[in-house]
């Protein structure tokens, strides 16, 4: 199991960084630029790891990014990567969807402690924005997830994947839930119009203001792990998981690119606008999907 976990983390690390490079490229192309190389994120991360000094405001500041990375790794090992084989399924049987939902917040909350310790008001502003946004962001996502759980009558992700093998993909069965979850995902990936917490123009890059050097590098690395975990989670829930590596790449890439395409065409909401919006349209869509699950199967 340990070997699988290490392999999984490495895979996620590589795939995550490459996706992020891809993202920067796609963004550049849309903006009419050439863009960096696809490996640019590696360069950034290695450079940051090899910075000669790093600001540290004390032990809680030190531990914050580590808690965040731990949360990301835990999330990663609890998501089943391949639907058929037990390969890379590592620790999936030890948790369930609710554990994942909460683990996804544990990391950011841990990091928020570090930000608070840092004492930079801009960082805390970012955290508060993030937590406020979370109120709106979680709502459609929770409804979607609850809809799936009730449809499958199980909070076990493996079970949800197995259900889709016989009963058809959830994206077809529950399209409304998928749409709602995708809107939330745009926010979870920090894309516009929900990229409120880290807005460099408004709050001085928010929670990351005081992080430099290896801490920033760690945050970036866990970000790529976490992004991969989230993508896999989405394809597990809605696209029936993946049975081979190329299927995995294809599906995750499809989701990722969709999210990017949504992200690049929008401006940024204010936090209250974002929550207002998320509480209206996506929530309504999700509720309709939920009603369908409850009353029509």
């Amino acid at each position: 199991m340990i070997f699988q976990i290490i392999l999984l983390i490495m895979l996620a690390y590589v795939v995550g960084f490459i996706y992020f490079g891809l993202y920067r490229n796609i963004l550049a192309r849309i903006q009419g630029r050439y863009g960096p190389t696809i490996y640019q994120s590696f360069y950034d991360s290695i450079k940051l790891f090899s910075k000669k000094n790093t600001v540290n405001y004390g032990w809680m500041f030190y531990l914050g990014p580590i808690i965040m990375a731990t949360g990301a790794v835990l999330t990663l090992i609890l998501v089943p990567v391949f639907s058929d084989s037990d390969f890379l399924r590592s620790a999936t049987s030890q948790g369930n969807l609710f554990v994942l939902l909460y683990l996804m917040v544990l990391g950011p909350l841990g990091n928020a402690l570090a930000v608070g310790t840092g004492g930079n008001p801009f960082g805390v502003m970012g955290v508060v924005r993030g937590l406020t946004r979370l109120i709106g962001l979680e709502l459609p996502f929770y409804i979607a997830v609850v809809g799936l759980i009730i449809a499958a009558n199980s909070s076990d992700i493996v079970h949800i994947i197995d259900m889709q093998k016989t009963g058809g993909l959830n994206i077809i069965n529950h399209p409304l839930l998928f749409i709602a979850a995708m809107i939330s995902m745009v926010g979870f990936f920090g894309e516009s119009p929900f990229d409120i917490p880290g807005a460099p123009q408004e709050v001085y890059s928010g929670p990351r203001t005081e992080f430099s050097g290896k801490f920033l590098a760690l945050l970036m690395s866990q970000g790529s792990l976490f992004a991969f975990a989230k993508l896999v989670l989405i394809i597990d829930l809605f696209l029936g998981g993946a049975d081979s590596l190329w299927m995995l790449v294809l599906k995750t890439l499809a989701i990722f690119v969709t999210i990017i395409f949504i992200g690049v065409v929008y401006g940024r909401y204010k936090v209250e606008q974002a929550v207002d919006f998320l509480m209206k349209i996506p929530t309504l869509i999700a509720l309709l999907g939920l009603a369908r699950v409850i009353w029509f199967g």
């Binding site: 960096p36 640019q40 360069y43 290695i46 790891f49 090899s50 000669k52 000094n53 123009q201 890059s205």
Partner: protein
């Protein structure tokens, strides 16, 4: 060359071990690799001190796209490797510039745009601009012109990248070595109008915190 070790992310004990086991060569290769990565990824905090600020947006956006060389803008000096000072510096600005520079993490570099930071330029006899920026913070690359076109700025980036790649001794090392010189100069022009914490060397608090 001594400066080669400055870019190391390995501590001296490890370095000794490597040398003992005849792996100094490996270490040098790693050093080179790290320097290459550093040159490929430069986070910029662009400080629009003077008129050159107008040249920076085209440099970073679609037309000239500095990002293709790994040069990206960031908001805070904590994350930045490079500070671009775009033009003349009033004393008042200098104070902020020094503060920002000191908050950047090593290795860190400075690029200036235009002639004013070199010798005062058209403000050579002004009562409240500095004449030679290099007296106050170490400048790595001067991009001349009044104002320099984005092409020149990009050339400046390329030059800087070359120097980083080659592991040449950079401005921040000079600053650390000759801290007293720089601090005296800064004190001379800013006089009593400096922040109370200005003299504190934030990164050497164990040395009494005084420069």
């Amino acid at each position: 060359m001594e400066s080669g070790f400055h870019g190391s992310d390995l501590d001296s004990s490890l370095k000794c071990k490597l040398e003992e086991s005849g792996m100094a060569n490996t270490h040098a290769i790693m050093e080179k690799a790290v320097n290459w990565f550093r040159s490929r990824s430069i986070f910029v905090v662009a400080y629009g001190t003077g008129c050159g600020a107008i040249e920076m947006p085209p440099t970073f956006t679609s037309r000239y796209d500095a990002e293709r060389m790994g040069v990206v803008g960031v908001a805070t000096p904590r994350q930045a490797d490079l500070i671009i000072l775009s033009g003349y510096l009033a004393y008042k600005t200098l104070r902020r510039v020094i503060r920002t520079y000191e908050q950047m993490q090593r290795p860190k570099y400075v690029i200036t745009l235009g002639s004013c930071p070199i010798n005062g330029g058209m403000y050579w006899d002004s009562y409240n601009t500095i004449k030679k920026l290099d007296d106050y913070i170490p400048v790595d690359v001067y991009v001349t012109g009044c104002m320099p076109r984005p092409e020149s700025v990009i050339e400046g980036f390329v030059l800087l990248q070359e120097r980083i790649k080659n592991g040449e001794k950079a401005g921040w090392q000079k600053y650390d070595e000759n801290l007293k010189f720089y601090k005296d100069n800064q004190k001379r022009v800013l006089g009593g109008h400096i922040d109370p914490s200005y003299e504190t060397d934030w990164y050497n608090l164990e040395n009494g915190g005084v420069a």
